[in-house]
């Protein structure tokens, strides 16, 4: 009899990130972005921007590995960017370390996607907002 383990988007994302963190090949090693990346799985679920950034990162991972651009990777990036912008407009969440981490992950993802898929550059905009003016 097949056992079905209950899961939701958060658990799927957490396991995808945990699996990605186990990779030691320097080309795909996520800890190269900093040792603190190892602690991200336990922080998921508390900040929507961080969740979306991790989702984008894991969604783009396969695409980067295969060096084939995918709609999922671009969609994940724009969703993460949208979520980050909403977070930045919230004065409380903006000062959270999770938001800073999300922005860092998105920045690194953008650089990585741009270098892997130069033709996709126009679909990978910057944060492009000045929250001090809000």
């Amino acid at each position: 009899m097949q056992t079905v383990v209950p899961s939701n988007q958060l658990t799927v994302m957490t396991s995808a990130l945990t699996a990605a963190l186990e990779i030691t090949d320097p080309r795909y090693d996520l800890t190269i972005y900093g040792n603190f990346v190892k602690e991200i799985p336990r922080r998921l679920g508390s900040n929507s921007a961080l969740d979306a950034a991790v989702y984008a990162l894991t969604a783009a991972f396969a695409s980067i590995h295969k060096t084939q651009p995918s709609a999922e990777a671009i969609h994940g990036y724009s969703r993460a960017l949208n979520s980050l912008r909403l977070c930045l407009m919230d004065s409380t969440r903006r000062k959270s370390p999770d938001t800073l981490c999300a922005m860092y992950l998105i920045m690194m993802l953008q650089v990585r996607l741009k270098s892997c898929f130069p033709r996709s550059k126009r679909y990978l905009p910057d944060v492009g907002m000045d929250w001090h003016a809000k």
Binding site: I32, F36, E39, P97, M103, V127
Partner: protein, 225 residues
Amino acid sequence: MQSDQYPNHGEAIAQLMNEAGTRNWQGSFETQMTVTLCTIVVRVEPIAIVMWALTDDRYSRVSSIQMSRSFLGCGNMPRLLVRGPRRSQNRSSKASGLGFLRAFPSCYGLQSLIYQRLKLRTVRYGKTAKQWQICCLLYPDRYPPRKLHKSGCQCTLNNTKLVSKLVMAFCWPKQFNSIALSKLSSHGISVFPSNSCLLLMIQSASLHEHHDIDPSGLALCHFVS
């Protein structure tokens, strides 16, 4: 088209870091992230010297001369300093604007020279107002810099990781970790720790080892430079 008045990711991170300076982040996640975001990536020279200067309450009033003296007092540094001016007389070093290395033997005014060259941000965090001032000096070698431009870019990510680990190894537990030292040595990185700063010398050979690594780490340069 997006206007230039809007920040890119790097500038946005810099703004968030400035805001974070008023908050007392104590956890390891926050601390490690701060260090990583403060890390300047090694530039594109055959041999680069990276200096981490930790200034906390104890060192905040240390003058540049005092700092230079402590800098001189560490390990094998004097020998390295003697090599500086001789090589800086090479044509390649003049071409890349490294003439300031002549000031190395005396070492006076070293701090201000570094700041003038790199214009780094200083990031404060925590109520104790610890400051990390991360400086990178370029050290001329027998190879012309242009030849090594690409490989230098490619190794930036790896260097980020190493430097981040280094700081964790040396500065938070305030003692020198011999295992970390030997590991770094195997990566072609020599470390010269002193009371107030940490100097890394990254050898040209280590820059060539990681051709497969992409230049994503350069993004970090955007906001610190």
